[in-house]
């Protein structure tokens, strides 16, 4: 009987014949923590009487969620991380370096076939490059830092076969929002998602990251894709680590398989206050918005900024509308500057903030006021997510956000198709 990608990677890393629902202890290839979770992890690491991390090269800590620090309490947490990183000689990314989920693949820390944990729920992002990566909490992170191992329940797999070609003005963000709306927020709970098919093959690696990033929003443990030539080229451009790609067997056993045709897909919008509350854009066009956000680990990559800049070039935000641009890394920001994209945004009236999580988690960089509507490229629109529980968050593609801030209301980006 064949195996899924998840079963193969967990077999390889545990040295056992791992099948869905088995519990295995497996070796970790990389371990990551950010500033919302590392403080508690360092405390747990010390309480475990651990002295040294298992391998400093295989660990990174990233200050991205509240960067630069807006508060004294946050500064103390950041200080604690800097001291720990220095003592343990691990990889460390400070304010302005970017979002953890951009940095981990961009800096070449992970390669196909790896098993990775991160103390951040969107760690599933690296599934797009054939990595079994999953989010954990701080104590699991501490166990990983200390031992280089973690226990896993081998997940069943939910396979999504995406056929057809995405129409112009419709992007990978629209595709994943559609899938989450279809299967709901717990449609893949405890499962690995595998995304395959012609529509996935046609995407760039950057576009694929957007899909795997949101696997957790359907409850999935990871959002896996097979590696193709594009994946291999992308990984080789970012990493010197050797790797072997992992494919699912043709006779692998899936808990669920769903097939879709994307060729008539409209741009999609997730409405307040849940990510699975998804509508085609035609149902929400005209909803007033006071703030737009383009960035985050979901859609803060160079391709996203190129798409947004194409729409914003030579145009101005609607009066009374704000736009926040948060590049996902220093590298992305530099590239956007070289290509003149940052200039386009600033000319249009946008505020560009430090590479990092930006206003997504509600700690700084653009907390909306009571009753305001925000349209964002982020991955969560929970009540209070951006720091005000009386604001309303809509999620969409960079193109839809760019079109919407030009009108001050949710707008269909296909109007700007060239």
């Amino acid at each position: 009987m064949g195996k899924t990608i998840a079963e193969k990677i967990l077999s390889l890393k545990s040295g056992q014949d791992a099948r869905a629902n088995d519990i295995v202890v497996a070796d970790l290839d990389f371990v990551m923590g950010q500033d919302g979770t590392s403080g508690l992890a360092i405390r747990a690491f010390e309480e475990m009487n651990s002295k040294r991390v298992f391998d400093p090269v295989k660990i990174a800590m990233v200050i991205d969620h509240s960067a630069p620090s807006p508060l004294e309490g946050v500064s103390a947490l950041h200080h604690q991380m800097r001291v720990f990183a220095n003592e343990q000689q691990i990889n460390f990314y400070d304010i302005g370096d970017g979002v953890c989920h951009q940095l981990v693949p961009e800096k070449g820390h992970v390669v196909p076939g790896n098993l990775v944990i991160g103390a951040d729920s969107h760690t599933c992002t690296y599934g797009a490059i054939n990595v079994f990566s999953t989010g954990v909490g701080s104590t699991d992170l501490a166990a990983g830092l200390s031992s280089g191992k973690l226990w896993f329940k081998v997940p069943e797999t939910f396979k999504f076969i995406m056929n057809g070609t995405l129409p112009a003005g419709v992007y990978s963000k629209d595709l994943i929002l559609y899938l989450i709306g279809d299967v709901t927020a717990d449609g893949a709970t405890y499962m690995a998602a595998e995304y395959t098919g012609q529509a996935i093959d046609a995407l760039s690696v950057e576009g694929r990251f957007t899909i795997s990033n949101m696997a957790i929003e359907m409850g999935a443990k990871c959002g896996l894709m097979e590696a193709d030539e594009k994946t291999v080229a992308w990984v080789k451009a970012h990493s010197n680590k050797p790797f072997e790609t992992v494919k699912a067997d043709p006779d692998a056993v899936y808990a669920r398989v769903k097939e879709y045709d994307v060729s008539k897909l409209e741009p999609q919008v997730a409405k307040p206050h849940t990510v699975d509350n998804v509508s085609p854009i035609s149902e929400v066009v005209g909803t007033p918005v006071q703030q737009g956000v383009i960035g985050t680990c979901t859609n803060g990559r160079i391709e996203d900024f190129r798409i947004a800049a194409e729409i914003l070039r030579g145009r101005k935000l609607a009066p009374g509308t704000r736009l926040i641009i948060a590049p996902s890394s220093r590298q992305v920001m530099l590239q956007a500057m070289r290509e003149g994209l940052i200039e386009i945004f600033i000319e249009a009236g946008a505020a560009v903030v430090t590479p990092g999580c930006g206003p997504c988690v509600g700690t700084h960089n653009g907390v909306p006021s009571d009753g305001e509507n925000v349209i964002s490229t982020a991955n969560r629109n929970f009540k209070g997510r951006m720091g005000n529980n009386k604001a309303f968050i809509y999620l969409a593609s960079p193109a839809t956000v760019a079109a919407s801030v030009l009108y001050g209301k949710i707008s269909d980006p296909r109007e700007f198709n060239s």
Partner: protein, 166 residues
């Protein structure tokens, strides 16, 4: 271990932002302070209504969203004795086991707000004292039971110096 308290009931898909908002959790590692804000965005008066040992009862997918361990820690520090739901999101589930917060999976349609419950974790029985019924609990897998019985993952590591499920 026997748990006893009153029910505070919520719906489906209660996410970790609702359990403890990001605007609070980044400020401090003082969990007693964070506990005062538990479930605040769903019920601003929640913390003031609690008595020691009370239960949070919810529908499916409790704890979805972010990986923040402050979520179970804030619940523990609000003196809530267990969370009872139809199902849990997986990161939250692991975090509860690791930090020692008992989780109970059962049919929560049989539990109403304000009901008084008694739970015998050892025997795996939930008594709804108000309604006079017993509700079956889904048992925990052995690995998780082992970590919970050791007092959480930190204590497990202190005891064995790493993972030990033999």
């Amino acid at each position: 271990m026997n748990l006893h308290g009153k029910v505070h009931k919520f719906g489906n898909d209660v996410n970790t932002d609702y359990i403890i908002s990001g605007r609070h959790k980044f400020k401090t590692l003082d969990m007693k302070e964070l506990a005062k804000h538990v479930m605040e965005d769903l019920d601003p008066q929640f913390y003031s209504k609690l008595n020691k040992g009370d239960f949070i009862v919810a529908g499916s997918n409790f704890g979805c969203g972010s990986s923040r361990e402050q979520a179970p820690l804030a619940i523990i520090n609000a003196d809530i004795s267990a969370v009872i739901a139809k199902s849990f999101a997986r990161i939250f589930y692991r975090n509860c086991i690791n930090t020692g917060l008992p989780l109970i999976e059962c049919d929560t349609d049989l539990i109403n707000p304000e009901d008084e419950l008694e739970i015998d974790l050892g025997a795996g029985v939930l008594h709804n004292l108000t309604q006079g019924i017993d509700i079956t609990i889904t048992p925990l897998p052995p690995v998780m039971l082992k970590i919970l019985n050791d007092g959480g993952l930190v204590e497990h590591f202190k005891k064995y110096g790493g993972f030990n499920f033999d």
